[in-house]
């Protein structure tokens, strides 16, 4: 850094600035973009500059902005990944995944051998047996790895863990199920599966996961993870508590380390134990803005209204969820906030000109959000509020029309189409509503600016994968779900760059390559607009630049 000017050359620079859509080089100074053009043009305008040609072969884009992720993505990598699909870790290494029970057990044996303390528990995460043939994972399998060391396998669905006998003995329920959600064999002995609330029976392991999210190492790994997948800005969307100075300090001091490889946008969520009044919460949100640093950008806040669709806890308008296989109707989901509390917080934040991101999975939750925004706008005029519907999974065309009229944004959970699309088709809402879930094309038709997201670690972090989901709408079993909601690649690119930055109120600094903006770039092996759309997610990430500095050395 300093007085010098560096110019990054590339096979092509895709700027996301419609005025100058592509160019050959990007000049940077003091962390900002000095200009775009050819090297000659830049030199004649700005004088001598040092050429950095590390990306000369690559296609350079504005660094990806993930507008809905969680630092849990960093925390969980304290343990090893055991999912079905290959996944790259924060160290950049690709994990092949576990495609059979035997592969899982082999992984566990390897990890078991690495631990010296025989009582230290062993945990892996992301286990995803839905494509396996044959036996269901049980304690008996895990007991072949160890009969002394507690073992806990966290499933990808996040609604289930499987534990071994040693863990059940430690917790005193090896011989009888202490509650529902603990399936047993014929003799009443638990099989090792702990479902839903019963997951907490593996108390030490789940507490360790909770604690890990408050760990500086998790924040660091989160940023490393971002670097690996080409994101230069990632959000912590209101899951981690940001209620006091020490919480702020965790983020700002961790990110102040030399070469910290991404910018983080942590959103304050007053329901995470803030405890004060709505007005105090708004004052704290305003105060947080003043605590921003180069790498940590406070600003918007997060509220959560309902649950998830695959968990049947999202709030749906009629006709609601599909019935159970035996025909029994399913009840509606649950609210996480009373409408009065939503209104009180929303009023206070809106008056303080704080953008509110609200988790709404179901269309009934979206209705409540829209009613609330309409009310606060009638009471206090703030045109550029950018209040955003997060997930917005079942938002309908008429709701997008209302959102457009109210000046709202959406952040659409496109990854769901791949990861849960088949379940939505078969089990939760049925083929017709599944086909119009995560309706990016409808949002475009109705004039709502939107981003698309991973909700990492609910699904893996990675804007190329998220773009791929929004563009192709292919499910895990290969079905195209709702072809009329697919969007063009250049639209998807906007959704993971400039439009994502817009809803975070950072589009004046991030999301496109323009003179004056922060010099955050990603270098890809090829131009996503020119490859087969089905191979977008396979594009190589060659590296990122944050504030003009190449990350990862």
């Amino acid at each position: 850094m300093g007085e010098g000017v560096t110019v990054f050359t590339a096979r092509r620079v895709v700027t996301l600035d419609p005025a100058i859509p592509t160019c050959e080089a990007v000049a940077v100074r003091d962390g900002r973009i000095l200009g775009v053009g050819t090297v000659d043009e830049l030199r004649s305008a700005r004088g001598p500059m040092r050429v950095d040609d590390r990306f000369a072969d690559a296609v350079v884009l504005p660094g990806f902005v993930e507008a809905h992720s969680h630092s849990f993505e960093g925390a969980i990598w304290a343990w090893e990944y055991a999912g079905f699909f290959p996944r790259r870790g924060p160290d950049g290494e690709l994990r092949p995944g576990c495609r059979s029970l035997d592969e899982l057990l082999a992984l566990l044996r390897r990890l078991d051998a690495e631990l010296s303390d025989p009582t230290e528990s062993l945990m892996v995460w992301g286990f995803d047996p839905i494509y396996f043939q044959g036996e269901r994972l049980a304690a008996a399998h895990l007991d072949t790895v160890s009969t002394t060391r507690p073992i806990c396998v966290l499933h990808a669905s996040l609604h289930l863990v499987t534990v071994n006998t040693a863990l059940m003995v430690r917790e005193g329920f090896a011989d009888a199920a202490p509650m529902d959600g603990v399936p047993t064999d014929g003799s009443g002995r638990p099989l090792g599966e702990l479902q839903e609330a019963a997951m907490s029976l593996a108390r030490a392991e789940l507490r360790a996961v909770t604690r890990a999210t408050r760990d500086a190492a998790a924040v660091r790994r989160f940023a490393e993870m971002a670097r690996v997948v080409g994101c230069t800005t990632v959000t912590e969307l209101g899951a981690a508590p940001i209620n006091r100075d020490s919480d702020v300090e965790l983020w700002t001091s961790t990110a102040s380390a030399e070469g910290f490889p991404a910018r983080l946008v942590p959103l304050f969520n007053p329901a995470r134990g803030f405890g004060g009044t709505a007005v105090e919460a708004a004052a704290w949100a305003a105060e947080l803005r003043t605590r921003s640093t180069d790498k940590i950008r406070f600003g918007p806040v997060k509220l959560v209204l309902d649950g998830s669709i695959q968990g049947y806890t999202a709030r749906l308008n009629p006709p609601g969820y599909l019935p159970l296989p035996d025909g029994t109707p399913r009840g509606n989901g649950l609210w996480l906030l009373p409408p009065e509390q939503l209104r009180e917080w929303f009023h206070a934040f809106h008056r303080a000109h704080v953008t509110v991101h609200t988790h709404v999975n179901g269309d009934e939750a979206t209705d409540l959000l829209l009613d609330t925004v309409e009310e606060v706008l009638a009471e206090h005029s703030w045109l550029d509020h950018r209040h955003t519907a997060q997930h917005s999974q079942l938002t309908t065309a008429h709701q997008y029309r209302r959102m457009a009229a109210l000046g709202m944004c959406a952040n659409i959970f496109s990854n769901h189409i791949f990861h849960w699309g088949d379940q939505h088709h078969d089990l939760t809402v049925g083929p017709d509503r599944a086909a119009r879930m995560d309706a990016c094309a409808t949002a475009d038709r109705e004039g709502v600016r939107y981003s698309v997201h991973s909700d990492a670690s609910v699904t893996p972090l990675g804007s190329l994968h998220t773009m791929w989901c929004a563009v192709n709408r292919v499910t895990a079993t290969g079905r195209v779900l709702g072809p009329n909601e697919r969007i063009p690649v250049d639209r998807a690119l906007r959704a993971v760059t400039i439009d994502a930055a817009h809803q975070l109120r950072l589009d004046h600094l991030l999301g496109s390559i323009e003179a004056g903006k922060l010099a955050d770039l990603v270098a890809l092996g090829d131009d996503p607009r020119e490859v087969d759309p089905m191979s977008i997610r396979d594009l190589e990430v060659r590296g990122t630049v944050v504030g003009g500095e190449p990350t990862g050395g």
């Binding site: 009969t147 040693a166 907490s200 329901a271 134990g273 996480l336 906030l337 509390q341 209705d367």
Partner: protein, 350 residues
């Protein structure tokens, strides 16, 4: 692979060193129903160790001063939702509570749910924390409950809260002309029958001792040594009976056990409030005495001494749940020889 632990067969192992399960009462009810008022009344009057877990969403909190004065512990759930977070906050919080209070565990943990908390969805998390579900108490605003139960967005949530209740406390009965009679009928109809077919018990919150509702008696009592039975009722049991309006028979309901305001003249509807005298009974006689309680007994609780036992014995009845257990961990506590029993509403005798 070398096997160190015997294979999973043979007689069930006794859980080693597992502490006595903490009893947890879930306190639910829609925003503004009066949960916090009830809780504050409990904290202001009780001298027992009550731990409170508040679901701290927004400004609606338990009076900090009362909690600070109080012997028990208060922890805050850090998540508005205790049903759908990946890592369950309630179980973690209860776990934390248990370790914080391991030297002197609370007599009761009250978990105040958020205004849209659904007790039926939260209950499994109590069990997952290896606590005991003591009961579900739902507070309903006599003036607003009917309108709320039909309201857009939250009506089904309010109805599900009522359906999950062991006991419904009607609040703000002084604001309605009929003293809450219509609200009571609405609550009973909306809640539907309990699992055993009985209707839900509804009491007037302004008139009933909150400690009794939440399973803790409020008065300080001197330790009563076990003494020989001197009773007029067979088996040492004073038969449950209706306490007549305005008259609290001193020999049955001593003022220091049940404050006189428990059964005021205009309680709506009148409940069978009775006292079960169990002083000096041995364990078998105590169990027999409990068996004489009417099937529709709503609530009874106490820490008593049984003849021939060194440790105090906890008696616990909520709806159909009945438990009698030794509490060596509470050996230093004062005990009583009477149980206050709240029965079902009085029905006109045909």
């Amino acid at each position: 692979m070398a096997s160190v632990v015997p294979p999973p067969s043979g007689p069930p192992a006794v859980p080693r060193g597992r502490p006595v399960a903490l009893p947890v009462t879930l306190l639910g009810g829609y925003l503004g129903a009066g949960k916090t008022t009830l809780l504050n009344r409990l904290l202001a009057t009780t001298t027992r160790r009550v731990a409170v877990v508040v679901n701290d969403v927004g400004a609606i909190g338990v009076d900090a001063a009362l909690v600070a004065d109080h012997d028990g512990a208060t922890l805050t759930l850090t998540n508005g939702c205790i049903c759908c977070s990946i890592v369950d906050d309630l179980a973690t919080t209860l776990d934390e509570l248990r370790s914080l209070t391991s030297d002197a565990p609370p007599e009761l943990v009250v978990v105040e749910l958020s205004g849209v908390g659904e007790p039926a969805r939260v209950a499994p998390h109590v069990l997952a924390a290896r606590c005991r579900l003591d009961g579900v108490v739902v507070v309903a605003d006599a003036e607003a409950i009917e309108e709320l139960a039909g309201r857009r967005y939250v009506g089904d949530t309010v109805r599900s809260q009522l359906a999950a209740a062991d006991l419904v406390v009607l609040s703000k009965t002084d604001l309605v002309a009929d003293g809450g009679a219509a609200a009571r009928a609405f609550v009973v109809a909306t809640a539907g029958p309990r699992g055993d077919g009985r209707e839900v018990v509804v009491v007037d919150g302004s008139q009933v001792d909150p400690g009794t509702l939440l399973g803790v008696t409020t008065a300080t009592r001197p330790a009563t040594p076990a003494r020989p039975a001197t009773r007029d009722a067979p088996g040492g049991v004073v038969p449950p009976h209706v306490v007549p309006p305005n008259v609290v028979p001193p020999h049955v309901v001593p003022p220091h056990v049940v404050p006189p305001h428990v059964v005021p003249p205009h309680v709506v509807p009148p409940h069978v409030v009775s006292v079960l005298d169990v002083g000096g009974l041995d364990r078998a006689a105590l169990l027999a005495a409990l068996d004489t309680l009417p099937a529709d007994t709503a609530r009874a609780k106490g820490l008593v001494r049984c003849a021939g036992e060194d440790d105090p014995v906890e008696v616990h009845v909520v709806g159909r749940r009945r438990e009698v257990r030794s509490r060596p961990d509470l050996a230093a506590w004062t005990t009583d020889d009477r149980l206050v029993v709240i029965g079902a509403p009085v029905r006109p005798t045909p």
